[in-house]
Symmetry: C2
Subunit: 671 residues, 2 copies
């Protein structure tokens, strides 16, 4: 690569881009870790994007109508931190850049949503950003359809690397974006032909241009170091009614001794080579030094969108008061005031009517009540709409000619769905929920973890949540998936026992601002156990006494979801034998853990024998089986000990020994 | 579709294919659940495949040189069960077919590996089969290169549906197969344009032909109901040096009222419609009735490969005794006799030299000893070879011109790698292991679960297993992943504390015949704690006393991996204060659970305070914190309580309170 030619061709551009390269080299050297090559290779593309196309205002990072910039290749975090610092985001000080990857800094190894302004999503696990971006772009289409171009009119830009495109999730994203003709989505592929193990063709020889075109994308191919070509491609991309992929041929670690090599992917810290690179750049400045004229040119870019932002704010202010309030409310993630009353009314009705339905149907009943009063919800399913019961009657299907549609047919793409839902939640103005079978939590898992890490309230509707799904067999029967979700920090796992608890769980999930929820719902019918109406949301406490012991309290049965019915029947058996038995329903362990110790002890006092029943493995239950001074030999578990089997559900419960009789026998054996 | 024309065009073929359709309709009707449409749509393709191409011998289902048939669209299990029954696999009786999806039957809802002969892999979770098939085809190439065409010379056939192709993992598989020019891999795409939610274009408009071609596949397009076209395409495919995808245009639920509809995907049980379909087929037989001439024609097909099998057996018998023994040994999953001595020698050497290395390096040291004496191992990494330390010096890279290569650059495809490794293990003759970062267990998870469910000994090398990875930050720091793997039935999770335990863990993983292993290995250096050489594999017991209390035993510290060093240091602090402290290393919970109660009680006697230390969340640890009669208030935990952070590892351990001082203080607070 002829660096000298690049320098002289367009010195203004060169200096701006080189500020990114130099900051990257210095920050990685200071941290003695990180990824230098990607920011160095993509600095030109990013510079043109920020300078000429990206609609943003560094002083208003949360402006709802800004363009979104997503760094899917998150290891190149110094590219983003450099851009944020140079354009003048007030939290991204030079001090923060100097503390790259250090304790307490907002400049983590990979961009962490919530750490710094201007980070739109957490990336690093490859492919997530490009899949998030589908949700961002869908959210923009939906909100533009709802509120009009005066309030919503922006693009989603993504920088993706070879790693992003090799991960399977990228195909799910590409397929979705192509299907839905997301013309406002523009992916800049850092086509540098280098991965950690070597050149890309060591592992892949896919023609990415043909691959994207096969899914209906526009593809443009450019020299990623030619500012005019980058500008022209972006201009062209913005006109397209289809999503655009711009293949940017770049040199990783441009101008460094490690250019175009795997070594260039990582931390370039050799002082001599660093100096040589800066020398080649014509950058005679010290570490972290950006000359005033370059910094000031960048700051002008950071202010470029200020007038547009002000005009937008004025347009919002011109809207009717209810429209303004609605727009503000949904971006604040506030629920509508009506919600609580509607949920309470449903609970009352259910307690009276006491239907026997599967909790996936209960969930649909709740959504029928919620969706009409919460226009920001967007439902969907990974090709199991009729099984997940995720579509309420008022929801039309999102499509190219129906951007107001609030129901998404995600296809057989659990992972892409979960990541795109995260994108919607991150965009703001949308409350996404989507369904699949609980067992396929496995497929969605990387995105579910990121929802928890990012603190966004995505709702994962996981039906067919145990052996209760029956004949489909062990491949489809979750046994460890409750444990997996419960083990994940900042995740509410709701396993309601009937329609009333399901309504309460939904209320909590929809009211949550910072915690994603997993709704663990049955395929099979369950009776209404909450027959006495309570306006209080009992599920908010995580666990509570559903039925107390009659007479001396000798046993406590702990259960969730479909097994609460079994615990109640076991209680009948035990009480018949004069054994006073309490049943505690535990729809959400995490919320129970959050209660004060006094409450937890009231629900689970020491002394009585405790037996838990759940049609899943025991892993994690020991937490609740012994009181603070309780004894291990007074706790028991009825549930699964291995994978399931293929047979009708009642047969499976009997054969695996998860019945009221088994629970009662276990209690007696411990007394 | 003109059924009459199909019937008359080729009645012999029609009757054979219709036997599959009729058995499917009858079995699904009897079970009142299942998926009728796919077997009905793909019966013609499967019939031609079995009749004219698939090399198999129903009487020798384990013949190592058989062609493999993989039903990636596993919900169409009745297609496979019909084929196995009709061709005369002795366990697939008509009784089993009649008991489709019932307790105790080998005819589970989805094909379960190990339940019936002729099921090559467990499918149902979509996309897994097609990704397995990459491993099957690679294994064939590797073994053909090693043993020659006389012993290894077969194809891998896959039936995949639209769901398989929408799942992201399919792209990983397609990319790998294209890259490695796996010409023996032939995918038959059931192109019926129907998914559960509706037509495919509801969710996807990808041109699959162009997509496969973009990754270097040969693609053929045929009418999936034309036996001559199917035959010709298979003949053509077998000649290709590149993998072939045959797009078979089919009608789901052919000939039924639900043909070409979503309803046709599911269980077609309406008796009148069933009768009408059979009538259209010209199939006047009762439920489960196959006329003798058709059954006998199918049985001939089942015997078609007998002579070829006999010739193959004769060729094997002609081989030199050591060659025969080696071939048999690797297909029996036996380890070479040398292995144990080599491992013991390494342990002895390590105990003497006491190096301070990361356990990922320890793992490499073990592989340097193992791989030369175990030629059936195949290593690899998802583009983290240098970090996972998975390549030993003797391993060359598998490539088109080096089929003897035993190291695979999987690319940034954790999921595809895991599934393909499962395929290799299922093929037989190969012991696959592959690496990525522990955090990306998330991506590989669906395939890891299937390894456990299928009882195959795939080894997942998961390095960078805690906050100890440092600066990459929370996206890359596992905190819940030990719990996730431990929660999975039939999975050994090894978290060795030093090189000696790492050697023991590898010995167990490689000796395993039915249990996959997760190797949880550190990025950071650890001292050798096992300084006294023991020939016995201590890790085989799951947990053991590493250092006992001096004086009265007041505390027991439980730890794994990198935290055993911390526990040992805490013991020093406590003993200094006169508090007798035992340290128990717990490299494998599952194996400890398998020990008898007497051993477990010897290691973890009641009485002393117990404190566990692990740089991960507590979830699951309560199982070990209280003795059978121990008290909850005498157990404590030092570890993570939330996601990690980006900073150097020593800072993180200190800031998150995972130090010897913290452990000692916790013990004192409980005493």
């Amino acid at each position: 690569m002829d660096i000298a030619a690049l320098r002289t061709a367009n010195p203004d551009h060169w200096n701006k881009a080189t500020a990114i390269r130099a900051l990257t080299l210095d920050a990685v050297a200071a941290a003695n870790s990180g990824h230098s090559g990607m920011p160095m290779g993509m600095a030109d593309v990013a510079t043109v994007l920020y300078e000429k196309h990206l609609k943003f205002d560094a002083a208003n990072p949360d402006w709802p109508d800004r363009d979104r910039f997503i760094l899917s290749a998150g290891h190149g975090s110094m590219l983003l931190y450099s851009l944020l610092h140079l354009t003048g985001y007030d939290d991204m000080t030079l001090e923060q850049v100097k503390n790259f990857r250090q304790w307490g800094a907002i400049t983590a190894g990979h961009p962490e949503y919530g750490h710094a302004k201007g980070i739109e999503t957490t990336t690093g696990p490859l492919g997530q950003g490009i899949a998030n971006s589908v949700g961002f772009a869908m959210a923009e289409e939906m909100l533009r359809a709802r509120f009009g171009r005066k309030l919503v009119d922006h693009y989603t830009y993504v920088i993706a690397g070879d790693g992003c495109l090799m991960e399977g999730i990228s195909q799910e994203a590409i397929g979705l974006a192509g299907r839905h003709a997301l013309g406002r989505l523009i992916v800049l592929w850092d086509n540098n032909n280098i991965t950690i193990d070597g050149t890309v063709d060591l592992a892949d020889r896919t023609d990415q241009v043909k691959r994207f075109r096969a899914s209906g994308w526009q593809v443009l191919e450019i020299d990623g170091h030619d500012p005019a070509a980058i500008d022209a491609a972006l201009t062209e991309a913005k006109k397209s009614k289809r999503p655009t992929m711009i293949a940017c041929k770049t040199h990783i670690a441009l101008g460094h001794a490690a250019q175009d090599t795997s070594k260039g992917h990582g931390a370039l810290t050799n002082p001599e080579q660093l100096a040589a690179a800066k020398d080649a750049y014509g950058w005679p400045y010290g570490p972290f030094e950006v000359p005033a004229d370059v910094k000031s040119a960048w700051e002008e870019i950071g202010k470029r969108g200020a007038s547009e932002q002000a005009a937008w704010a004025a347009r919002l202010a011109e809207m009717s008061a209810p429209r303004q309030a609605e727009f503000t409310r949904i971006f604040d993630r506030d629920v509508p005031p009506k919600l609580s009353a509607r949920i309470k009314a449903l609970k009352k009705q259910i307690s009276e009517e006491a239907p026997k339905v599967a909790t996936r149907q209960s969930s649909e009943m709740v959504l029928e009540v919620v969706n009409p009063v919460m226009q920001e919800t967007v439902g969907g399913s990974a090709d199991l709409s009729g099984s997940n019961n995720t579509r309420s009657g008022d929801m039309t299907v999102f499509d190219v000619d129906n951007r107001k549609g609030r129901y998404v047919h995600w296809g057989i793409r659990e992972h892409g769905m979960a990541a795109a839902m995260n994108g919607m939640a991150l965009h703001g103005g949308i409350r996404p929920y989507g369904g699949t079978f609980m067992c396929f939590t496995d497929y969605a898992r990387p995105a579910m973890r990121l929802a928890a890490l990012m603190k966004i309230p995505t709702v994962f509707v996981m039906t067919h949540d145990s052996i209760g799904l029956g004949e489909d067999g062990p491949t489809h029967q979750p046994v460890e998936h409750l444990a997996i979700s419960r083990a994940t920090p900042n995740t509410w796992v709701f396993r309601p026992c009937d329609t009333v608890e399901t309504a309460e769980a939904w209320e909590l999930a929809l009211t949550s601002k910072e915690t994603p929820s997993v709704m663990s719902l049955t395929r099979q019918g369950l009776p209404t156990l909450r027959r006495e109406h309570k306006t209080k949301n009992m599920t908010a406490q995580g666990a509570y006494v559903l039925a107390d012991a009659i007479g001396k309290r000798e046993a406590i049965l702990l259960a969730t979801g479909s097994e609460v019915e079994i615990a109640m029947a076991a209680r009948d058996l035990l009480q018949k034998d004069g054994i006073g038995t309490r049943v505690v329903s535990m729809p959400c362990w995490e919320l129970f853990e959050d209660q004060d110790e006094a409450y937890r002890k009231r629900v689970l006092p020491g002394g009585p024998v405790r037996v838990a029943v759940e049609a899943a493995i025991r892993f994690g239950w020991d937490r609740w089986l012994y009181g603070e001074r309780g004894r291990r030999d007074k706790g028991g578990f009825i549930g699964m000990h291995d994978f399931g089997a293929s047979a009708p559900a009642p047969t499976l419960y009997k054969e695996f020994g998860i019945t009221a009789e088994d629970v009662a026998a276990k209690v007696k054996s411990l007394l």
